[in-house]
Subunit: 458 residues, 2 copies
Amino acid sequence: MMGNQIRRFFYSVCLLASAALNIFLVRNVYLGDEWKKQKLSNWAEEAAAEAEAVALISCSGHGRAYLDGAVVDGKPVCECNTCYGGPDCSLFSPDCAADALRGDPLFLEPFWMQHAASSAVVVAGWHRMSYTFSDDSYISQELETHIRRAHAVARNAITKGKYFIFGGGSTQLLAAAVYALSMNLSSTAKVVAAAPAYPLYKTQTDFFQNTRFEYDGDASLFKNSSDTTANLIEFVTSPNNPDGNLREAVLQGPKVRAIYDHVYYWPHFTAIPAPANEDVMIFTMSKFTGHAGSRLGWAFVKDEDVYQKMQSYIEAAEIGISREAQLRALKLMKAILQADGREIFEYAYKKMSYRWRKLSDILVLSERFSIQEIPPLFCNFFERVRGPSPAYAWLKCERENDTNCNQVLRAANIIGRAGSAFNVEDRYARLSLLKTDDDFNLLLLRLGKLISEDIYTI
Amino acid sequence: MMGNQIRRFFYSVCLLASAALNIFLVRNVYLGDEWKKQKLSNWAEEAAAEAEAVALISCSGHGRAYLDGAVVDGKPVCECNTCYGGPDCSLFSPDCAADALRGDPLFLEPFWMQHAASSAVVVAGWHRMSYTFSDDSYISQELETHIRRAHAVARNAITKGKYFIFGGGSTQLLAAAVYALSMNLSSTAKVVAAAPAYPLYKTQTDFFQNTRFEYDGDASLFKNSSDTTANLIEFVTSPNNPDGNLREAVLQGPKVRAIYDHVYYWPHFTAIPAPANEDVMIFTMSKFTGHAGSRLGWAFVKDEDVYQKMQSYIEAAEIGISREAQLRALKLMKAILQADGREIFEYAYKKMSYRWRKLSDILVLSERFSIQEIPPLFCNFFERVRGPSPAYAWLKCERENDTNCNQVLRAANIIGRAGSAFNVEDRYARLSLLKTDDDFNLLLLRLGKLISEDIYTI
């Protein structure tokens, strides 16, 4: 009896010892395997860990640390939103100006933070070192395909049967198009844009001016011109920067060529009445995914000759566009096109229309200021009538004496952009609605204060 | 006695069970912790796994798959080196031409594959979406600092006290410098470069020609010019493309300005007699780390006014340079600067001087062809006299009848670049030595065949 008991105990012990050993061995083998993987293929783990560590640096929701930020005590510092400071961005500067100057599309930053896993990409040390892709082009075919798909989801452009080209942001493609459209003409082309117009058209065209083209101001002034022999190149910005209006070319005729700047033609900012189908259409990551820093724009071009000339421009300027920017854009497109691909448009529209409503709610109280009216319109993407969600508020100072609206704003500690930059009177000013939540909230606060003081004063 | 034994067994069992349980618990807690990390911060793991999976795709050592390559059966296909094909790049095409046309710096690809872990970088979805860095510039200060450090290690440039600017490859900076140096002059500047000269100087200057500057050919023709009132801008390429010679400006005088194209001024390609210390010096990732696809060049500029104007050029052209390219370049610089930072220079010099020796060994047998002579020279980096390791062979066809050297090469199934592209006679041709081992080996094979046939024929 006792002998049996001992045997039972003995077996139990053996079993347990064995089980323990099993666990030990399994673990060991498992780790051993891991170690092999480490040597063979885990070269990207360190980069992943490094990126994750930086993402965990807390900046109080008013900033973020970047992998390539300034390093203090061995780790990158927080880079704070405007008006926030301190090591963790927790200090608000009450007297700081509400900066609504630039069209920096940071309103989409939270979207990408929420889609961290699907949008992250590893650049290997040997990734695409060559000048060209394997088809001798400077363009990732995969990326082109995904961008065309994104347009198909947004229903904002007919891309079929059109050539595709990348540029350093839409900026470089605007210049490339002017060069291409002004080649082999009998006279210097006049480059024009209906006022109010995006200031870069003038500054860029002036900077690169040569005997083939020159900037000549407001397109409307050429509308009823008796001179039908002049070569004209019209920038058509639709929706327009600054006022968000959908536009058609002002000028028509055999000697008129149009460059459609459609960078804001996304459900984020406007109803899409119909897919755009122009001869030269320009888009950019900046106003679609919010990645202004990528400097990656694209154009759809109907005419092969114009396309070839634009390509020659990019090649003469810098051979091709960054492979890193293209790889990253592809990952962003893949993240966007997950499921039915509608999420980013719904997110962006919701956010921008919210901002517009908040702004309108404040401005409706004021007789001193007005903003542009954007009528509700049927949207091809949402398949319903939808309200406004523009990228900018185009503010007008209504008082006789307020001839410089931007100065009025500046006195209230708000930084806008003066109407004269857009080739109209300074009674107008542009306010960017594209920036961070912090920027927008401060803008609302300052505008609210300005308007309530006005009402109180009256 | 038996009671004691039972107790002993009992305790042993408890101990073992406990130990087993401990192991179990430790593992469980550990995994539990991992799981938490997964949710909080393991967003980059998927990207790492994806990149590693692509790197494991076997292309027989004659190609590689890229993350953004064409996808077949759910994974990116192999992109094969020239003359290799098939799904795994194992098929050699015996009749395929040896392509030595372009300066594609793929000779450094194996270096980066060997440094996979230290050179990989994760781009987060929200990485630097803004147009600007937090100091309102378009330039990563961290990257600038690391690039200056790399120059200090290479001892190839005095960067202190000089302004720094990025461009889309050296290409864009060449144009930016021409624009900057030709502003506010009394007459159209003549842009020149001593022959043989890099063809892009002419094609680019012609493309962007305006009333302020025009390309005017060989700098040497202006050397003893009686017209001392002409504004001249000289491209000085040192070491020179195509012939690898170290150069000084041909032209001197109060109306002459020089743009030093120092993209090959690294220990890879030349002895460094002394650190360069010119007013306008241009470098690029392409010929330093081998990343031509990044389109990231930089300039050091002594004069603030010239620097400002070059900056205006970049801003008018495309606002700034890709943040992805800058982030990746920073990671590459960090990898390079590990330990004493000398490894890449030693690797590159060893490889390029090996190629030069192999080529010389073949050409020494020939009376039909000659290549440039590059004398041994003391090198500031290696601190000793060192032999040649140029980026290109500058081939001369010595026979009276061989007036078109490139045609002679073409007949032997070798693709070079004709001398006339470099503004000299077609008796010369350039062969790129910068490409993959496969490219170089095929070039050697074809040249060897051509030369041995000549000898046999004679």
